[in-house]
Symmetry: C2
Subunit: 439 residues, 2 copies
């Protein structure tokens, strides 16, 4: 350890990793073509400093496998224990690369899968910690960074053929002038959102109708439904939802990777008449060329993907190949906020709107910060942008999202909004928590 | 469970997963530009049946993180326990998809990272089990499959825009006639190989010279060295090795993902005069478009990658984009032999030679089977093909590889050659084995 790390406080002295699972499969909430029975779960991290401050972070999973992410968090633990917050903040990109590029651990990624999900939990806990120390919500902490300090958070490795540090700086500097106005606008109006929780695959028709009506009444104008391999069923459900929400509302469709490239093109044909804004995850999330082929074929329907976009290299190519109209990055899938910031800059350079993936448990809490950073610092635009929202499990958070009239209201509390209530953590800990013991 | 699974024996009744690590970092064996201190490790699986047969499999890692793969194997365990071997063999593709597409576990991949490495360990243990029951080495078991049964092992999801089941069948049928002759040829002469273990990054010059001379004396004519970010050092080491091996020997170079796209092009320029057959892993393994750009720029030097090629979708695109000259698939990185068979067929269709990644611990033992399957059943060709070899850790295997005159001799014992000796497993188990307890 460097000498200054021993004299700069606070220092991270403890990491706790917990396996938290919600039994959402019982209600089919979250169900789609590939994930028929998700139990929304969090591999949850608390970092504690020697002067008593805590930073919270989590990564999201669907239940089984959450323990694998917890094991991966524990494997990364030695890389943060003993580090001073100052030393991390001084070289955020270096800190990030120390985790994502650890010489033995990178083999089980690299920068993908369980180890990268785990990296996100720790990295985001560090951001939460830093924001609490500076007494700002994370979005505001980042919005206040000078452009040089913003790019200092980013590991540009593997990006330089698409975005250099200088280009990133130029983008941020070009946005610097309107930052204060955009921040005020967001504080007054909130960030636009769309709602997913009316259209889960496993929900019966009457429930879908009821949820659409309730959402409309609450001010929602943008809706997403799940589609699958049964073309007639897709058409039937799309018609049903269009009937409820009307022609002026936006309708997005999500295939959750269910299709091959040719199938995607084929199955979208009869859905075009419902005027979908996008088809999301039409095929494998790794298939950059496949998404490009689908995009060419289904235009003017947009193509969206990103919740399984493993890292900045995948997003770089999705943009280079002109494969997507909407970038749905995820703050857990990517290795935490540092890599999210990298992809926001890539998207700004290539002119692709960012519509962060959310839902699950905790993802909405994270995503609101990401969209605010994008608007205030990076893209400076709202056209084609909206953040996903699902109305589940927010009651477990100390500082939950607040949506109103189809918009995310700006979070005000210091941190990343991701701290869960102590009783929720205890009740839903797997397998020992009360909720799981009573089975 | 289906009824027939209860009456068909043998049935898998037990899975043991062990964390086996070799302290190779002490000698710098295996060191390269990104992995400076690997401890070659195996997340090791034993499947046991109710009639007393065992199947062995493993996935390879670099030490830390091996426990994460063990946790992932345990997460997959319920998907194999209680299954009869007959029911698995009857629908090999279905079995494979049940593991790789499990509705909750797939979130922490999908088909990549720790969960996919774990899938490989179990899937390959099933192949080992099946081969022992049929009393054949795995390569021979597969070589004897009729084309229909071969393609029945493959999950074609996400491949149909590049390779359909019918096209795969046509490839295999076209190769059917010469199979017996190629098998005889292999039994007589063995499969061509190249040697990596002379050129590790961390080895001092004199050791590299000595190992080159010893390898030449043993009949090796194909050599690989590691290159990195220091251009002068790359040139110096390449000159040193060329001096030892002469101009007629093949020389391959391996950057282990150290470079950005532009750097790769730049750093290969002064190395061209050493006439390398390929530059391996010049950049991020996820960067299909980057590899294509590098390939266009460094021609006639070939581009090779694959040991971190996460799944068939990545390989499909590497071929569609004409990004590689050599396909270095890995039997652990891909989710086991079923997906390897898929990529062999893709490579045959696109005319890309397969040169499997090996080295580490156990990878040579696996790779010899893959190359034999490729030659006998799929490509029917040897031009541009060679299997990697590194001279480490074979002493821990019950049926280790046998190389002679720079070729892999055909394995004869039933199974996948991957069973480790009981005393090795006990001594190197982490952290409780004798080798780790004495520090």
């Amino acid at each position: 350890m460097r000498r200054e790390e021993t004299i700069m406080g606070p220092t991270i002295v403890k990491l706790t990793a917990r396996d938290i699972r919600m039994p959402t499969s019982e209600s089919k909430a979250g169900s789609d073509a590939m994930h028929v029975d998700p139990d929304y779960s969090a591999a949850y991290v608390v970092l504690e400093t020697d002067d008593g401050i805590s930073g919270h972070g989590m990564t999201f999973t669907l239940g089984r496998g959450n323990e694998v992410c917890v094991a991966a968090i524990r494997a990364l633990e030695p890389l943060v224990l003993g580090a001073s917050l100052e030393s991390i903040v001084e070289d955020m990109a270096g800190f990030w690369r120390r985790l994502s590029g650890e010489s033995q651990l990178r083999w089980i990624g690299p920068e993908k899968g369980a180890i990268h999900l785990a990296t996100a939990a720790i990295v985001n806990a560090v951001w939460d910690l830093r924001a609490r120390v500076e007494r700002k919500p994370v979005w505001k902490l980042v919005a206040d960074l000078p452009p040089e300090r913003f790019v200092d958070c980013i590991d540009f490795r593997y990006m330089s053929d698409a975005l250099t540090r200088d280009e990133a700086l130029a983008i941020l500097r070009a946005r610097a002038s309107g930052r204060a106005e955009r921040e005020m606008e967001m504080r007054a109006q909130g960030y636009p959102a769309y709602i997913t929780s009316a259209g889960w695959m496993g929900y019966p028709d009457e429930l879908v109708r009821k949820l659409c009506r309730e959402a409309l009444a609450a001010g929602w104008t943008r809706f997403k439904i799940k589609v699958g391999r049964d073309s007639d069923e897709n058409v039937r459900r799309a018609a049903l939802v269009r009937e409820e929400i009307g022609q002026r509302a936006s309708l997005m469709m999500d295939a959750n990777q269910a299709w091959d490239v040719g199938e995607a093109i084929e199955l979208m044909r009869p859905l075009a008449k419902f005027n979908p804004t996008w088809i999301e995850e039409p095929t494998s999330p790794d298939d950059i060329l496949g998404h490009a082929a689908i995009r060419r074929a289904v235009s003017p329907i947009g193509v969206a993907t990103g919740e399984h976009g493993a890292n900045r290299v995948i997003f770089k190519q999705l943009m280079q190949a002109e494969a997507i109209d909407f970038c749905q990055l995820d703050n857990c899938r990517l290795g935490g906020l540092n890599e999210v910031m990298a992809v926001l800059l890539l998207a700004a350079k290539f002119g692709v709107p960012v519509c962060p993936h959310a839902g699950g448990v905790g993802l909405c809490e994270y995503a609101q910060h990401v969209s605010l950073i994008d608007y205030i610092c990076v893209s400076g635009r709202l056209d084609g942008r909206m953040t996903e929202f699902a109305d589940h499990l927010h009651e477990h958070f100390v500082d939950p999202v607040h949506v109103s009239g189809g918009r995310y209201m700006v979070p005000a509390a210091p941190g990343f909004s991701i701290e869960m209530k102590r009783e929720s953590l205890d009740d839903y800990e797997f397998p020992a928590g009360a909720r799981w013991r009573r089975g």
